[in-house]
Symmetry: C2
Subunit: 126 residues, 2 copies
């Protein structure tokens, strides 16, 4: 029987890999600013200052730090163009773009969940 993470009964057998994969994913979204950065880059490549302007209230220190994390984890690529002055472009890698699938499911669940909780509070059976 192959290790298929989508089958609950098999999780026990493959729990090491399952947990490892979830942790990998969690690392990508850990911290206050990673999702805003990824979200911003979903619209296309951006320069440092563009990101700084796009993402409200982020400080250059945090932007720099989070971009480094994302680059290390191969979510974002950094390209230096030797224009004068130098320009630096940040872009989602293929993995980074595929991450949108995770976001989509999170959104789906979030919307459903909110619907459920609301109807529960209002005592309504949908």
């Amino acid at each position: 029987m192959a290790c298929d993470a989508s089958v609950l009964a098999e999780v026990k057998m493959c729990s090491g890999n399952y947990v490892m994969a979830v942790n990998d994913t969690m690392n990508v979204i850990s911290g206050k600013w990673k999702l805003p950065i990824i979200g911003s880059l979903l619209y296309g490549k951006k320069r440092f200052k563009e990101l700084e302007r796009d993402i409200e209230k982020i400080t250059p220190r945090m932007l720099s730090k989070e971009l480094k994390d994302l680059e290390m984890n191969s979510i974002v690529s950094r390209t230096v163009h030797n224009t004068i002055p130098v320009t630096v472009e940040y872009e989602l890698t293929e993995s980074g773009q595929r991450f949108k699938a995770v976001l989509d499911v999170m959104v789906e669940w979030g919307i459903e969940h909110r619907r459920n909780v609301k109807s529960e509070i209002m005592g309504v059976k949908l």
Copy 2:
């Protein structure tokens, strides 16, 4: 045009809801222990001490705190049975169980990502 979170072009229109839904989901998994707890409860209802034993190194303080958070967010339900002594059972709500879909996509992405990064490091084109 309806607000469909899965279509990137529409995100701008509906970005408020999109962001809100992602935040809802993030709240569920924020913190070191929420996923271990949810993971443990995927196998069925558990009592406090069972969870404490299942989840390595968690302290009762954190377990209690995280369970309260999860209960407040309608991910987990708490039932007191008036046996002697009282037993308390924690169980995933419907929303909590549906959350497995999010975990599955996270696992899928995590595995794919790891494959990509590894082949990149080894200079292999799959």
